[in-house]
């Protein structure tokens, strides 16, 4: 409608222009929506500081009021780890200690094998190796995997298992706090998780004592 006629020209300047903004705005929001979404979730955990900010991406104008009221009432759902849903089937989660072992092996080989000067180890490799080594609490990934595999019977996913190993969690309380998806299985998991964490702690202390002895 507004495309027609010269009359509409002046008045149309306002309305289509604002529409135009809307459509441009949509593009920008599409990218940032995710972030705002996330901010919304997290800020809900703390104070309702960003009510105004959060209101805007969801519903413009009218929604603002409702959102303000809503955000204070609504308990935001905890951010659950959904590794399996987002990855292809043939992917296997690796614990940092496993990744560190693989990457260290590759680096050792590269020093020997890379006669071709055009092949350079990318910086992301070094960073990843450094990260894997920093977050590596165990020297024997096999026994860590064996210990945590027992939790699979209680429906603990691969992603959760890796997260437990990567964070070096010592207590079940900490595990439930850091990995909210475990809370749903709390009654089922608690006992075996406690046992597994005790076992893991033993593996950790063995590692530390060997380092001291060395």
């Amino acid at each position: 409608m507004s495309d027609k006629g010269g009359k509409g020209g002046k008045s149309a300047l306002k309305s289509p222009a604002s529409k135009g903004k809307d459509s441009k705005g949509r593009k920008v929001q599409f990218d940032s929506e995710d972030m705002f979404d996330e901010k919304f979730e997290t800020n809900g955990n703390g104070n309702g500081k960003s009510n105004g900010k959060d209101g805007t991406p969801f519903a413009k104008g009218k929604g603002g009021k409702g959102d303000k009221g809503g955000s204070s009432k609504k308990e935001p759902p905890p951010l659950l780890l959904k590794v399996e849903e987002e990855l292809p089937e043939n992917a296997k989660c690796l614990m940092n200690c496993e990744a560190a072992q693989i990457l260290q092996g590759i680096q050792d080989h590269m020093v020997l094998l890379s006669k071709d000067p055009t092949i350079k180890i990318p910086s992301s490799f070094d960073r990843a190796l450094q990260y894997a080594n920093t977050g590596n609490f165990y020297t024997n990934p096999h026994s860590v995997r064996q210990t945590l595999e027992t939790l699979k019977k209680q429906d603990v996913s691969d992603g959760e298992i890796c997260l437990i190993a990567n964070t070096g969690i010592e207590s079940t309380k900490k595990a439930f706090a850091l990995i909210p998806s475990l809370k749903a299985k709390k009654s089922k998991v608690k006992e075996s998780l406690g046992t597994a964490l005790t076992e893991l702690n033993k593996l950790k202390t063995v590692t530390e004592s060997t380092i001291v002895l060395d």
């Binding site: 997290t42 703390g46 500081k49 780890l81 292809p88 092949i119 920093t134 964070t167 900490k174």
Partner: protein, 177 residues
């Protein structure tokens, strides 16, 4: 989080590389092309760990190049929403701080830093608690939770929080918030 995954890629090879070491040339090219790249679905390809299969080559009309389908195993690194990461702080400013976990950069906004921590400017900008017991500055190690990710063609950016139980500085075990 690290993953082990099998991926496939069509590799084009110039006829000058054909010979006894064709496979080696192919693998070298694959490593050069793939390692260090980043995709939204798989994350950063950190390293190729093995070649599963090199398919039959197909000559491309008019060029002489041959396309080989190569299946390879690799280690990838991808952050997930809800994941807990231990990251090293790389920059602190009044908006928040940037931290690095492997090849991934994470931004923690000041809204997602506990309220009792305040920004202190100076030579070494930092966030400090009122009693000075906990300090976040460059090179501090922090445990954070990823709450948002944005994937670029070559990079993954994350938004993190330390405003939750058992998150915060870990470089000094006594000061974990």
């Amino acid at each position: 989080m690290f993953f082990h995954i099998v991926l496939e890629r069509n590799m084009q090879l110039h006829p000058r590389h054909f010979g006894r070491d064709l496979r080696e040339k192919l693998v070298a090219k694959l490593m050069k092309d793939v390692e260090g790249t980043c995709s939204g679905r798989h994350g950063f390809v950190v390293a190729i760990t093995g070649i599963e299969n090199v398919g039959k080559g197909l000559i491309r009309d008019g060029t002489g190049f041959v396309t080989f389908p190569v299946k390879y195993q690799c280690v990838v690194f991808r952050p997930f929403k809800g994941e807990i990461l231990e990251a090293v702080v790389s920059m602190v400013n009044k908006m928040g701080f940037f931290a690095e976990a492997g090849p991934v950069q994470i931004f923690v906004s000041n809204h997602l830093i506990p309220d009792d921590m305040e920004f202190q400017s100076g030579d070494m900008p930092n966030y400090t608690t009122s009693d000075g017991s906990v300090k976040i500055q460059k090179d501090s190690e922090v445990r954070l939770k990823i709450i948002g990710t944005r994937v670029d063609a070559t990079e993954i950016f994350c938004i993190g929080t330390i405003k939750d139980d058992f998150l915060g500085v870990i470089s000094d075990p006594g000061t974990t918030s």
